[in-house]
């Protein structure tokens, strides 16, 4: 993707001027260190007197802890101490993963280490502190635990049955949260419909599998009463608040540093009990403590996601007009709701987003979330979207087949018209600045369905089943405080940026957004240089340090460009204004006759200017030369917040063409197209790479990934060899194109781009596979769509 030639957002100034970096695919110079092995990941850090920990984790999904004997473990080589819940709870207060604005959420208190009862295979029970990780692991084997195994509630579908195993007796049953949405009158509409279609889809529990596992170094400095945490998290200020609150520390003296993070995708934005235990241990011992999860710990303790069974019904008239949609969704989580974002949000988004691209006057949705004795579940890239988009688009295809309508036509006639915004989703969520019609038209233009149809017939003759799918979707991005803050969580929806011109003429920028590889640092630099009028290389950026950046939300829900970027734009414009005021005073001229280009203040209609370096020298070293009353300010800070609506939405149209080998059941994705409307693109190449990376993660969920459990609640495939992740060979090249509708909520007009790929790919792949299987009267209704399921659907096994 090369630079954008068209001016995608006039508010940002013309694009044929010096330093017009917004819309350019500028390489990430700051990231080149990774190619020299120069990254600074948490595990690369060593501090003086630093110790290591290893956790003894429950081997059972549900068991009583009768007693724990750590005597022998304490004698083991290099061991400093061994703690259980008793010692950790002296320092760390329990938490509850609930929010106050989504109706009653019932989750019990959770502490870092299990007390009396372990409730999932992998839950931390005891912890050894030693001079090395190896010595800590040696000592684990000497801890004697008297377990009394209990029946486990493994299956989500029986979790609310009368004879279910009640995981938390004090709650009375295994219900965590439920919600109903009821717009219009679906029953009446279904009676009037000419065609009603139904389906029930199963989505397997799977997880993010970041290549870098979770890691933390906690460093308590007793003399300074200060806790410094090196963490590969996504939201430093959120962790600052939580660690201060639960360890009873002064929040202003808790510093979170997140340097390089090896991929996160939502996995690293939650509070994990083992990491909280590490902070408590550091406070007790008064020295740095390091914990790096190994791969088995990652599979059994990183949050899981997407465990849903959803039944749906759609009613259309004979022309294909959608009259009613109804869904009933069941989701299984862990024994606790994760803190602080809760395990309700995935289901909440399924209810919010089902049918979102379409006009559906009658919509009913019920969501039920139940506890299980399995790994806790929470937000992972494209939260709830794969389920909401798949059930919607599967039902629409079924309706199209039933009334004999083209797959693209039935969608185009039901879209919320591009010119009818602001508008609402069927569930009532406000929508604005979307382009489903234009995006579908662009998709059909680059996809050429006629050619695909002819190939489908030719393939059929040769015994190959090929098929295609086209879908539309909305992606949640740039949330406002109505997402979490309103529910009482100290999760900031605001972001800040601070920018200064230094004595050398260099520019320094800091932002509360963080970097996990998506290119945040690069786009912040582009926005600042573009709006200030300086060369890219003269800007230096600091992220991921609560002592060195403004306060703000960090990275989640694809908010970096849209919220963090706007804060940088506002700060850069403020600094530019300050600089021009000073220059006007020094140059005895009117500010409006000046501008800044390539690090120089220039006179618009020619003549002598002044370099930023000279101006800075004057201000910092020869202030006496500046006219009185100018009070020069070469530092500016600004913040930004989305107001009035819960989210800013991005929309995407996706197409996919697959072929199925009828003997092996193996599915080949031959072609994949994604058209995205994320408003202003700061760096087109980085947007494209977010879509490609997202689609591949979606393909993982659609075809490969599942956390397989036995009926006792033990995960069976907790290794990189057994848990199938997408590797290079099976993945297609992805054709990416764009429509641009700037968000009216900001000057920069950028919407998020990080998650649409993951949200839409499972739906379009499933539809394409079923389009192929339909030729022989077969159908698959559960993901991952494995070769075995295909052969079963074909009646071959």
């Amino acid at each position: 993707m090369d630079d954008l030639k068209v001016n995608q957002n006039p508010k940002l100034g013309s694009i044929d001027r010096p330093n017009s970096y917004i819309g350019r695919s500028v390489p990430r110079q700051n990231a080149k260190k990774h190619l020299d092995g120069g990254g600074q990941f948490v595990d690369d850090l060593t501090l003086p007197r630093m110790v290591h920990v290893a956790f003894l984790r429950s081997p059972f999904a549900h068991a009583e802890i009768k007693s724990i004997d750590v005597k022998n473990a304490k004698q083991s080589d290099g061991v400093i101490d061994v703690f259980t819940a008793k010692e950790i709870d002296e320092v760390c207060k329990p938490w509850v993963g609930v929010l106050g604005h989504l109706g009653e959420m019932r989750s019990p208190e959770q502490s870092p280490l299990a007390k009396n009862i372990a409730r999932w295979q992998g839950e931390p029970v005891a912890v050894v502190i030693a001079n090395s990780r190896a010595q800590a692991e040696d000592a684990l084997e000497l801890i004697e635990v008297d377990w009394l195994e209990k029946d486990a509630q493994v299956d989500m579908e029986t979790a609310l049955d009368p004879n279910a195993v009640i995981i938390h007796p004090e709650l009375g049953n295994n219900l965590f949260w439920t919600r109903t949405v009821n717009q219009g009158d679906v029953d009446k509409a279904f009676k009037e419909a000419d065609a009603v279609v139904e389906t029930t889809l199963d989505f397997a529990r799977h997880t993010g599998v970041t290549l870098e596992s979770r890691g933390i170094v906690a460093d308590w400095n007793k003399a300074e009463n200060k806790m410094t945490i090196y963490h590969n998290g996504q939201a430093p200020h959120m962790m600052q608040h939580i660690i201060a609150k639960h360890l009873d520390l002064n929040e202003g003296l808790v510093r979170i540093i997140s340097r390089d993070v090896g991929g996160s995708f939502g996995i690293k934005v939650h509070v994990y009990p083992d990491e909280m235990a590490v902070t408590a241990i550091s406070k007790k011992l008064g020295r740095p403590v390091k914990f790096i999860a190994d791969r088995l710990e990652s599979f059994t303790t990183d949050i899981h996601a997407r465990c849903h069974k959803i039944s749906g019904k759609l009613g259309v008239d004979k022309n294909g007009k959608i009259l009613a949609m109804e869904i009933d969704d069941l989701s299984g989580i862990g024994p606790f709701s994760m803190y602080p974002r809760t395990s309700a949000i995935e289901t909440n988004q399924v209810l919010n987003l089902s049918g979102a691209p379409y006009v559906i006057p009658n919509y009913k949705a019920v969501g039920t979330v139940v506890f299980q004795n399995k790994t806790p579940m929470c937000q992972y890239r494209a939260v709830g979207h794969p389920i909401a988009v798949a059930i919607t688009e599967a039902l629409i295809d079924k309706a199209a087949y039933k009334i004999g309508m083209d797959l693209d036509k039935i969608r185009k006639m039901n879209f919320i018209p591009d010119n009818s915004y602001p508008n609402k989703s069927p569930s009532g969520v406000p929508l604005e600045d979307l382009s489903h019609q234009a995006s579908m038209d662009k998709l059909l233009e680059i996809m050429d369905i006629k050619e695909i149809e002819t190939k489908k017939k030719d393939d059929y003759e040769k015994g190959i089943l090929s098929g295609y799918g086209v879908i539309s979707m909305c992606e949640v991005t740039n949330p406002s405080p109505l997402f979490y803050g309103v529910g009482g969580a100290h999760i900031s929806s605001q972001d800040g940026a601070s920018i200064r011109l230094e004595g050398s003429g260099a520019i320094h920028l800091s932002s509360s957004i963080t970097e996990q590889g998506q290119g945040t640092e690069a786009i912040m630099k582009q926005i600042a240089a573009d709006q200030l009028g300086v060369k890219l290389e003269s800007v230096r950026v600091t992220l991921g340090d609560t002592d060195a950046t403004p306060y703000g939300g960090g990275t989640w829900a694809s908010r970096g460009a849209g919220i963090g970027g706007e804060a940088v734009l506002k700060a850069a414009r403020k600094l530019k204004d300050n600089i021009l005021n000073i220059a006007a005073a020094i140059m005895q001229t009117d500010k409006d006759s000046l501008d800044i280009e390539d690090n120089n203040v220039i006179r618009k209609n020619g003549g002598e200017g002044i370099s930023l370096q000279k101006l800075a020298e004057t201000v910092y070293y020869r202030g006496h030369e500046i006219p009185k009353g100018t009070n020069p300010e070469l530092l500016a800070t600004a913040s930004f917040l989305i107001e009035g609506i819960p989210f800013v939405f991005t929309n995407s149209a996706m197409g996919c063409q697959v072929s199925i080998d009828q003997d092996t059941g193996i599915i080949k994705i031959n072609k994949f197209w994604a058209v995205e409307d994320c408003g202003t693109q700061i760096n087109p190449k980085l947007v494209e790479e977010q879509i490609r990376g997202g689609v591949i993660q979606g393909i993982g969920g659609a075809l490969f990934e599942e956390c397989v459990y036995d009926d006792q609640g033990n995960m069976q495939n907790a290794t990189m060899a057994d848990y199938l992740v997408p590797m290079a060979y099976e993945m297609p090249d992805i054709i990416v194109d764009h429509v641009t509708t700037n968000s009216g909520r900001s000057i920069i007009g950028a919407k998020g781009a990080g998650e649409a790929g993951t949200g839409g790919a499972p739906a379009v792949i499933m539809n394409a596979i079923n389009n192929a299987l339909k030729q022989v009267g077969a159908e698959v209704i559960s993901q991952p769509i494995t070769p075995e399921k295909v052969l079963k659907a074909l009646g071959k096994i």
Binding site: R28, Q29, K33, F41, A134, G693, M720, A721
Partner: protein, 158 residues
């Protein structure tokens, strides 16, 4: 094997000599290298499946989490910190240009595998490149940009 059982070995890493060094016999090579500050070699699984720990040992790409440090006795090792020859600098430029990495955690292993591809002098199609790197797990890029970069390197360097 008791915890304080060590092996005495000598080897070179990126040209630097390590003579008569005592390494825990059970320690794998990746852990040892990282303990010596060569933190560019990363650990993603310690099961030989993800490729993040790939280094060069006597001219061959190996998974340093599956090699015991003691097995490196007498070997000449090269890690990502030592990829400063003219060819690898060109590879790095191509990776940067094509944004063939995002978080950077898989990059050391990907660069090592790319080096092996280029030294093999084979002219590869995109599918064959995908097959060559199918032992290196990346969760961020979706692989296409990496294939683009390697394809460019094959055409320009070989």
């Amino acid at each position: 094997m008791t915890a304080n059982n060590t092996s005495n070995i000598s080897f070179t890493v990126n040209g630097e000599k390590f003579n008569n060094v005592n390494v825990p016999s059970r320690q794998h090579l990746a852990d040892y290298l990282r303990s010596q500050g060569l933190t560019g070699t990363h650990l993603g699984c310690e099961q030989g499946a993800c490729g993040a720990c790939t280094i060069e040992m006597d001219g061959k790409a190996v998974r340093s989490c599956l090699v015991l440090a003691s097995q490196a006795n007498g070997s000449d090792l090269k890690t990502v910190e030592g990829f400063d020859d003219q060819m690898m600098e060109q590879v790095k430029e191509s990776f940067l240009k094509h944004n063939a990495f995002q978080c950077g955690f898989c990059s050391p292993g990907m660069l090592m595998t790319t080096k092996e591809i280029l030294l093999s002098k084979k002219k590869l199609t995109r599918d064959e490149i995908r097959s060559e790197i199918s032992g290196n797990y990346c969760r961020c890029t979706g692989y296409q940009s990496i294939v683009d970069a390697i394809e460019e390197c094959i055409n320009e360097i070989n």
